[in-house]
């Protein structure tokens, strides 16, 4: 044969672009995009956002084997050494864009084929794209926005500052709006995004967007129209009756209640599914304690400040100003002080049963380096060693328990927040009390081996008499903290409210007396509200991307 024929060696086991433009190919690419939701790893999680949302918020310490164990997270927590070239930052940026590119890839196929459920699938893909952009926006503020209409060759022409912060929110909102317009109220397969989920996510987007920030990340105004849209959307979600609070707060953190009524949108995990190690949750796999049943890796430890925040007064209400003057440390402290029951759902405390098992008691020796990071650990994201969802992945372990992206409690609090900022605080009161009522009813799982309550639980509802806008705002923010503690959202709340710098420097001024490694930690206003744009990306863009301010 001639040389040309001889040298024509086609790639083995691969497809070309055009092969995929069929209804079947499009459906498969939709699944591939969903798959990206759960394809995070332990060095850059994006199912749970704990390294970015909790370590930077005063709720959690990094934990693990010391400050050098995943050093990038240590730098997130202490701010001072954080740099644009930290690999974890570049990784999470990249992996979120992998998700976006998979959604765009699927949309490209969907746009080219005819199929009966085309609009629904398009709606799902725009929901996912909105989800990934939302996280990017929370983390980095200004990011390049690329949709399926842009050819890959033109990607390098799109800068992260082409859109203003508000324009970027509008793009994200447009994706969720498209999803609202095209998705059915509910889907046969629980993993798929529904119209209700899209409305909730749109509400969340508008809520974040309502707090208008200047170029230095300082909140300058709150957009009332956006808040009204939040109220309208959350009302619609509530009005469907599709979702409600689980009777017990703890159901949200137990695998047997996956896809229950409180779950508005959740990432699905599986095992014994034909993949090499199962598709178990990777983003939380560093967070198991160091006892013999688990053994790795002791990350994500609640701060002393967070534990103290669960203290309640004689009426069962939070101690807004005095909570942090004394610390809950010794076993007796949890009897001598009253606490919100959500504490024992959230925090693993020495001598308290671990994860609702009275015979499986958490001990200080389960903590990896208590000298550095104290004696508490997180437990919402974890399951017990005998749970059907548990699986080892030596040296790690994790589970198939869902990760909730939006749970119904969020919807109630978004609505409350919007109402309070609209100066309609009174309407928020019953919503917040609904959560507190549920929390009060969530003590059945919190019993020790003799059937006694593990801690001294006391939680009450807010009364209408002192419920001013200012008080309501304080109560709402406290409620969010306790309800979603260790779920990866706190820092983004602080930045949204425009209080991150003051709050965190106040937190650090006390916490550094408790934790030696925080000596040099300091939050720099106008810089640390967002992660830096990864230096790699600025370089790869040949300088087209602009760094966030003050980095």
């Amino acid at each position: 044969c001639n040389d040309k024929d001889f040298l024509d060696v086609s790639p083995r086991g691969a497809l070309s672009d055009e092969n995929l433009n069929t209804p079947e190919g499009a459906e498969k690419q939709v699944i591939a995009a969903y798959s990206a939701l759960a394809n995070d790893g332990f060095t850059a999680p994006f199912s749970s956002l704990w390294p970015y949302g909790n370590l930077r918020s005063g709720d959690a310490y990094k934990g693990g084997g010391g400050t050098g164990d995943i050093e990038g997270f240590h730098f997130y927590e202490t701010f001072t050494f954080n740099r644009p070239d930290i690999s974890n930052t570049d990784e999470v940026w990249f992996r979120l864009y992998v998700g976006i590119s998979r959604a765009n890839e699927a949309l490209n196929r969907l746009n080219k084929v005819d199929m009966p459920n085309k609009a629904i699938r398009q709606g799902e893909m725009r929901f996912l794209r909105g989800h990934f952009y939302f996280i990017l926006k929370e983390l980095f503020d200004r990011v390049p926005y690329i949709d399926e209409t842009v050819p890959v060759a033109d990607y390098e022409k799109i800068s992260n500052v082409d859109l203003t912060s508000q324009q970027l929110w509008d793009k994200i909102a447009a994706d969720f709006q498209f999803a609202v317009d095209n998705l059915p109220a509910s889907q046969g397969e629980v993993g798929r995004a529904s119209q209700v989920a899209a409305k909730a996510y749109l509400a969340k987007t508008r809520l974040f967007q309502a707090y208008v920030q200047d170029d230095n990340h300082q909140v300058t105004s709150i957009d009332q129209a956006k808040l009204q849209e939040v109220v309208r959307l959350t009302d619609e979600v509530i009005g469907t009756g599709k979702h409600s609070l689980s009777p017990d707060f703890g159901n949200n953190f137990q695998s047997q209640f996956d896809n229950g009524r409180e779950s508005v949108f959740a990432i699905q995990f599986s095992k014994d599914d034909g993949t090499p190690r199962g598709r178990i949750n990777q983003g939380n796999k560093l967070n198991y304690p160091m006892n013999a049943e688990f053994g790795c890796c002791g990350f994500h430890q609640p701060s002393q400040n967070l534990v103290n925040a669960f203290k309640t007064d004689a009426k069962g209400l939070p101690l807004f100003t005095t909570f942090n003057t004394t610390s809950l440390t010794e076993p007796a402290d949890f009897q001598n002080n009253a606490v919100d029951p959500r504490l024992d759902h959230t925090v693993a405390i020495p001598t308290h049963p671990w994860k609702y098992d009275p015979s499986f008691v958490f001990q200080r020796s389960w903590v990896r380096v208590p000298d550095i990071y104290g004696q508490f650990m997180s437990q919402k994201e974890l399951v017990g060693p005998k749970d059907q969802s548990f699986q080892k992945l030596p040296p790690f372990m994790s589970s198939t328990k869902n990760w909730a992206v939006i749970r119904y409690a969020d919807v109630l609090l978004w609505k409350s927040e919007a109402l309070i900022e609209l100066n309609r605080a009174a309407e928020a009161l019953p919503l917040i009390n609904e959560l507190r009522r549920r929390a009060a009813a969530s003590t059945t799982l919190l019993k020790d081996i003799s059937g006694q309550p593990v801690s001294n639980y006391r939680i009450g509802e807010y009364a209408a008499d002192q419920w001013t806008q200012e008080y309501a705002r304080e109560a709402l923010r406290w409620e969010r903290r306790l309800e979603f503690a260790m779920e990866g959202t706190r820092f983004f709340d602080l930045v949204r409210w425009g209080i991150a710098a003051d709050y965190l420097n106040t937190y650090l001024s006390v916490e550094k007396t408790r934790r030696q490694y925080l000596q040099n930690a300091q939050f720099q206003r106008g810089r640390d509200e967002y992660l830096p744009i990864p230096l790699n990306q600025i370089n790869f863009s040949k300088g087209l991307y602009k760094q966030n301010p003050n980095w």
Partner: protein, 1036 residues
């Protein structure tokens, strides 16, 4: 008593008989060497006829010759001698050693040339010099012996080696092309039996290498295996046994020392020391400073009392004194119409790390046959190799031996279970468990390598040669991973993984060679074609849940769950045309022109073919009358100059294509799942729907890298070639270097795209000098050979988007103009000795007494990103080797030294010995001398658990003088005198002892001292052992 010498006689008698009509006069004689010792195996032929024989064990021969015959005596390594037989029946011939080896023939690619006629930079290595070294990989043995060739290796039994010819010429694969008996290959040199190797030629410059075109960019190493020669019938047997001694790696803290250091670190950090493992007793002194009184080690480290606190030296636990054995037999039989060489070799290296064994069995048959009055020659070279290599947990075990605390016992108290980390100890495996649990796991490679050829002389001096070569390997591995519990690390599933790979290529070569002499002109012409087709196939399968953890049981069918399998393939092809003209005028003026055109399936549609030209010239000044007649000092002098281009195509075989692949799921343990499956229905288990993901973007313009090299060299021989040497200078520019640059993240996965992007320049000098002499009449001879080479490398161009990927500040400072591999970082300026020093220094977050002080390079009063500079170029001033040899009567002695000078290395060992920022990883004993307020002269930072000063940042703290000089090899040999061996009908018996890596000289003192053990290995790699060998070579 052995049959073979007899058959020599029979063969020669038959030849004699066949020509009996002409052979009139019976003659006899003896051939000896310079010292008068009989030389066996010397070929004796009557000039212009096929009458001949070879000498017997004592050098004697007998033959019937025609009248007025001229006898030609030839033997490798000796000058060929012609003797007139007229009127004589008894001969005593003394053959002179061929010291200059000018008539030596060198294989230079599809042809052979006299060394004297070479115009390119070609280094020739005699394999005999290094074949007794026990490494198992011939390339390891060449370390330091060839100027311009830098060889780096470790002590692993598998013989892994990195060979770099004239610097780093590309950002990708820098391995040279190997051509073994004409068949090109890129790897697997450790599967060659080094006893089979006759010679090695290194084609360093482009004028020599460009005949190999698009694969020659990193230089070419030509390996020629031994062939039987006409008239030589011989059996060689050789064996050696080597004892390898483990070496202490960086000494680490013992149980007590770790406790004390942990306490000190916590105190330094302002923490109250407490540990899940140790109990500390301390008091406060008059100055208010805490003082440690006692560290109490618990009896058991776990609550269940299964692990008794130990004082384990993990390096000792995983290392062993071990044996290397080699047995080799080589049978050669050369006749008038055919030659055959058959060899068998067994090599077995147990490694100094337990269960890191490498075994190899090779067989070779090289034969050729003459037909049509010698006009047609048909033959083959074939080797079959079977090598068995342990699974390869040795490096991981070495790595965790550094980290694992001494307090962890190897075994639990029952002697059966494994010790392992408990709380307070980092999540690192028990290294002994890693080795023991994998000892049953190994891979086997079966490889067939060789060619069949036919060479037909069409008209006089016009040869048509065709060769069909194969290089196919079958790799097979069945690994059983056991259940284990080792402290809090455990796996309750066992797993069997089967992997089978078949890969390799065929090569079909056709060449025409023509040589022509016209007056004083000598012309050699070569034209040829070559086609190569390579395929790779892999199949893998695994299951879990085996009832018995025994390889005899654990076949796939015996597994009960998690059936999984995989398979993939790849392929490439090459189609090439080449031609070469060598011209010599009057043996003085030499010229050579080469042209090769390569087509490769790896490149884009638009650039599938490339052309690689070269030209070179030489002037043998010593042949000029003005020198030849007037300067007795000069025996040989040749000036060479060459220019040429070579290529590199070493990228993924499907690099030019856009690719999508179905990927169901990937192992998510360490890297995120790259798969596409998703549990969309929320079933939690069972088969999942899935899709496709993009792997790569295509590039139709993709082409090879081009290296353009200019070389000027001088070869000389002085004092009757007692002093010989050469000098070379080269400039080597590589452009269009193939890179797969990192890309904008917005592209998503599979944005990878190969492009031709970077340029690198190398310039350098190479010197080779040898002196050999024999003290007349004393029987004492000696020789000294030294070589030295030096090069300077710099990156001259990079695509803008990756320019910051190799160091620099992301702004005005980039790697351009710097050597590839340079490191950019902070300048460590000693330690802060007092708070006063901290206060007067620029603002440095985390500064404090005992902490590293970083220099404020830009003087802006704060230490940040912009206080970095190039802290090491990572290239030596020069590398060198020195060989000293001497012989007296039957004794010979050889000392070989090798060194690297002026190399600043980044000593990553210190990451592990000086710091422990994952709590429960060990420190090195170095920190016993770390800075404290009382020990403030120390250069080792105060121990810390917190790393507030971020001291693992890239800085000159880790830069040390990596220069070394090693006594690589010392050998003493004794050849049993002929009069004794002759009685046993043996031709030669040699016994030797040798040692390797006996001595290392390094910079031990001063600010730049190398603080770890072996400057050759800057991490916790496989240690290079000290070895002692006893060997025996017998020829009969």
């Amino acid at each position: 008593p052995l049959a073979l010498p007899g058959s020599v006689q029979a063969a020669s008698l038959r030849y004699a008989g066949a020509t009996a009509r002409l052979a009139e006069t019976p003659i006899s004689g003896r051939v000896t060497d310079d010292q008068g010792a009989g030389l066996p195996g010397v070929t004796v032929v009557v000039k212009g006829t096929t009458i001949g024989t070879s000498t017997g064990p004592n050098g004697e021969f007998s033959l019937s010759v025609p009248d007025n015959a001229t006898l030609i005596f030839s033997f490798i390594g000796y000058k060929t001698q012609e003797v007139s037989a007229a009127g004589r029946t008894s001969f005593s011939v003394k053959l002179a050693t061929d010291v200059a080896a000018l008539d030596e023939v060198v294989v230079t690619g599809y042809q052979v040339q006299r060394k004297a006629d070479l115009t390119g930079a070609v280094a020739v290595v005699k394999a005999d010099e290094v074949k007794d070294l026990p490494s198992g990989n011939i390339m390891r043995n060449l370390q330091g012996r060839v100027p311009g060739v830098s060889i780096n290796t470790d002590g692993a039994p598998d013989g892994g080696v990195s060979v770099r010819i004239r610097g780093l010429g590309t950002l990708g694969n820098n391995d040279p092309l190997y051509v073994i008996d004409g068949i090109p290959t890129k790897d697997g040199i450790n599967q060659l039996n080094q006893n089979d190797i006759e010679s090695i030629q290194v084609l360093k410059d482009a004028s020599a290498a460009s005949i190999y075109g698009s694969r020659a960019g990193n230089g070419v190493i030509i390996i020629t295996t031994k062939k039987a020669r006409k008239g030589v019938n011989r059996v060689e047997f050789s064996t050696f046994a080597t004892v390898q001694h483990p070496r202490e790696l960086a000494p680490m803290l013992n149980t007590q020392e770790y406790g004390r250091t942990y306490w000190q670190a916590a105190v330094n950090d302002g923490l109250t020391p407490s540990s899940p493992l140790y109990t500390f007793r301390s008091h406060t002194d008059a100055n208010g400073r805490p003082v440690l009184d006692e560290v109490v080690v618990p009896e058991f480290i776990d609550a269940d009392q299964t692990q008794r606190a130990a004082d384990t030296n993990w390096f000792e636990e995983i290392q062993q004194r071990s044996l290397i054995q080699s047995y080799n037999v080589n049978l050669a039989s050369g006749g008038e119409r055919g030659n055959a060489l058959f060899s068998l070799n067994y090599y077995d290296n147990d490694g100094v790390v337990k269960y890191s064994n490498f075994k190899r069995f090779t067989g070779r048959l090289n034969s050729d046959y003459s037909f049509l009055d010698g006009k047609l020659k048909v033959g083959e070279n074939l080797t079959l190799a079977r090598s068995r290599q342990s699974y390869g947990e040795d490096r991981q075990a070495l790595g965790v031996s550094v980290l694992q605390l001494a307090i962890v016992p190897v075994r639990t108290v029952d002697g059966v279970g494994w010790g392992g980390p408990v709380n307070g100890i980092a999540d690192r495996q028990n290294p002994v468990r890693l080795l023991e649990d994998n000892k049953q796991n190994y891979g086997v490679t079966n490889r067939a390598f060789g060619n069949a050829f036919a060479d037909l002389e069409l008209v006089k001096n016009l040869h048509l040669r065709t060769s069909f070569g194969i290089d196919y390997s079958l790799f097979s591995q069945r690994s059983l991973f056991k259940r284990y519990k080792s402290g809090y690390l455990s796996d309750n599933l066992n797993r069997l993984v089967n992997v089978e790979r078949t890969f390799g290529n065929w090569v079909w070569q056709n060449t025409l060679n023509y040589s022509l002499t016209l007056g004083k002109s000598q012309l050699d012409l070569l034209a040829g074609t070559e086609r190569i087709s390579y395929t790779f196939n892999e199949l893998s399968a695994q299951r879990t849940g085996f009832a018995i953890e025994d390889l005899d049981y654990a076949y796939l069918d015996a597994g009960s769950a998690n059936k999984d399998n995989g398979g993939f393939a790849s392929a490439y092809r090459l189609a090439s045309y080449f031609g070469k003209v060598n011209y010599a005028f009057n043996e003085r003026y030499l010229a050579s022109i080469t042209l090769r055109r390569d087509g490769s399936s790896r490149f884009g549609k638009e650039n599938q073919f490339g052309v690689f030209p070269a030209a070179s010239a030489g002037w043998r000044i010593s042949e000029e009358n003005f020198l030849k007649d007037n300067v007795a000092l000069v025996s040989d002098l040749k000036l060479r100059a060459g220019w040429g281009q070579t290529g590199n195509q070493d990228i993924a075989y499907d690099a030019a294509y856009s690719l999508y692949r179905p990927v169901y799921g990937t192992d998510p343990t360490w890297d995120p799942d790259q798969g596409t499956a998703y549990d969309i229905a929320g079933n939690k288990t069972g088969a999942l729907p899935s899709g496709y993901r993009r792997f790569q973007q295509g590039n139709d313009k993709l082409k090879w890298e081009t290296t353009t090299q200019t070389n000027v060299g001088l070869d000389f021989g002085l004092l009757q070639n007692k002093l010989t040497g050469s000098v070379d200078y080269f400039v080597k520019n590589t452009k269009d270097i193939l890179v797969k640059p990192p890309y904008l993240a917005v592209v998503g996965e599979g944005g990878d795209r190969f492009v031709n992007g970077a340029s690198i320049e190398n310039k350098g000098w190479e010197f080779l000098l040898g002196y050999q002499n024999e003290v007349a009449g004393s029987g004492f001879a000696y020789n000294i050979t030294g070589n030295l080479s030096s090069y300077r490398n710099q990156v001259t161009a990079l695509p803008r988007e990756v320019i910051n990927a190799y160091g620099g500040n992301g702004q005005d400072v980039t790697i351009i103009g710097q050597p590839f591999g340079s490191r950019y970082g902070y300048v460590a300026d000693g330690l802060f000795q007092s708070q006063g020093e901290v206060d007067t220094h620029a603002t440095q977050v985390g500064a404090g007494p005992g902490r590293i002080r970083y220099r404020d390079l830009n003087g802006d009063g704060k230490i940040d990103n912009f206080d970095q500079t190039w802290i090491t170029s990572n290239q030596p001033d020069f590398i060198y080797g020195l060989n000293l040899g001497a012989s007296y009567k039957g004794f010979d002695v050889q000392l070989f030294w090798q060194g690297v000078q002026g190399l600043e290395v980044y000593n990553e060992t210190k990451f592990r010995t000086d710091f422990s920022y994952v709590t429960g990883e060990n420190w090195g004993k170095r920190v016993l001398d770390a800075w404290t307020p009382e020990n403030n002269g120390s250069t080792i930072p105060a121990v810390s658990l917190l790393n507030q000063n971020n001291e693992l940042r890239q800085s000159s703290y880790f830069v040390e003088n990596g220069s070394y000089l090693k006594l690589r090899n010392a050998q003493l040999g004794y050849s049993v005198p002929q009069r004794l061996t002759a009685r046993l009908r043996l031709q030669q018996v040699r016994l030797y002892v040798q040692g390797t890596n006996l001595l290392t000289l390094k910079d031990r003192k001063g600010p730049n001292a190398y603080t770890s053990l072996d400057p050759e290995i800057q991490t916790f790699g496989y240690p290079i052992p000290v070895t002692f060998t006893t060997g025996l070579n017998v020829t009969f």
